[in-house]
């Protein structure tokens, strides 16, 4: 296990312990009922997470990262921003893949506004994170709503980047 994973697990279970203690201070009943509630949520979510984890592996295998890098070529202007946004949403894998593709695009001459749009779109819409995490945990209506109102913002970020330029 890497150090960062260890730190994540310590802060995570530390927060659980602190909040559990706060619940216990409210009374044993509060603690028991919230643990039961949390465990029920967990049991409901496990099959969906299983589908998400296994499934996104297959989806990622069908979309190789080279395809995404190709979309992010040195094509500038708004068409480039649009492809960058689609590429960001379609990027499989975790943060390493997403940011590395951004870095490659910068190196091969991708415009900075396009790479900004790519990173922002990836943060907002990466399909793997939505399938694996957001849809299982959040009400479906919220997820679609959130994604829909987020659509303008990669374009806004690119526009700001075009106007102010790189410092």
């Amino acid at each position: 296990m890497t150090a960062s994973a260890l730190i994540i697990d310590i802060t995570l279970w530390g927060s659980v312990a602190i909040l559990g203690f706060m619940a216990w201070q409210r009374g044993r009943v509060v603690l028991v009922s919230s643990v039961r509630e949390g465990s029920m949520d967990f049991l409901n979510i496990v099959p969906r997470i299983a589908l998400g984890v296994v499934g996104s592996g297959y989806i990622a295998a069908v979309i190789p990262p080279e395809v995404i890098t190709g979309w992010l070529g040195p094509d500038s202007g708004w068409l480039g921003v649009l492809t960058a946004v689609i590429a960001g949403a379609a990027t499989p894998g975790g943060p390493v893949v997403g940011f590395s593709i951004g870095a490659v695009a910068l190196k091969v001459g991708g415009g900075t506004p396009q790479v900004i749009a790519y990173v922002v779109a990836w943060a907002l819409f990466a399909f793997q994170r939505m399938i694996l995490w957001e849809i299982p945990f959040m009400p479906a209506r919220f997820v679609w709503f959130r994604a829909a109102v987020s659509v303008p913002f990669p374009f806004l970020a690119a526009a700001i980047a075009m106007v102010i330029g790189k410092p």
Binding site: I49, Y58, P95, V119, V120, F142, V149
Partner: protein
Amino acid sequence: MIVIGALVAICAALVWRRDGIDGVLNILTHDLWLFGEIIPRVLAGCLLGAFIAEILPHEKVSRSLGPKSGLKGLLIGTAFGAILPGGPFTAYPVAAALLTVGADFGATIAMVVSWTLIGYGRAVAWELPILGTDFTLWRIAISLPIPVLAGWLGRIVFVRIYPKGEPS
């Protein structure tokens, strides 16, 4: 979920046609391993969400993050998303808990978007080393207004779609 299941089946079939049964099994074992690693964190996230839903006073949450919380509610959501520790296994259960205790879609959108765009966890661990300090800081500076704007847009659209409040 059915749509996702169908999509997964299609992709698995494509992998099978391209790489044969070995390719399919390779991905499956890798992903099951990943699943085993994730599962305890998911449990922790679910417990966090349940504790938060139990501990936070509902009236207070709906006052400071509810539909009438205004810009302040969006700013609180943004700040909360930016400082939230952990990964998606904490952010989404906690966001779901906030929704159940009275936060509105707008403030919750601000929180989720802020977590993905300006949360320090991912930026420090991955973006800084891979994309460099200049790019990362610049990207975050440009992203700063986005969570509030997204939450605000969310509220405007929400009252248009559900003028009588969210249907149950």
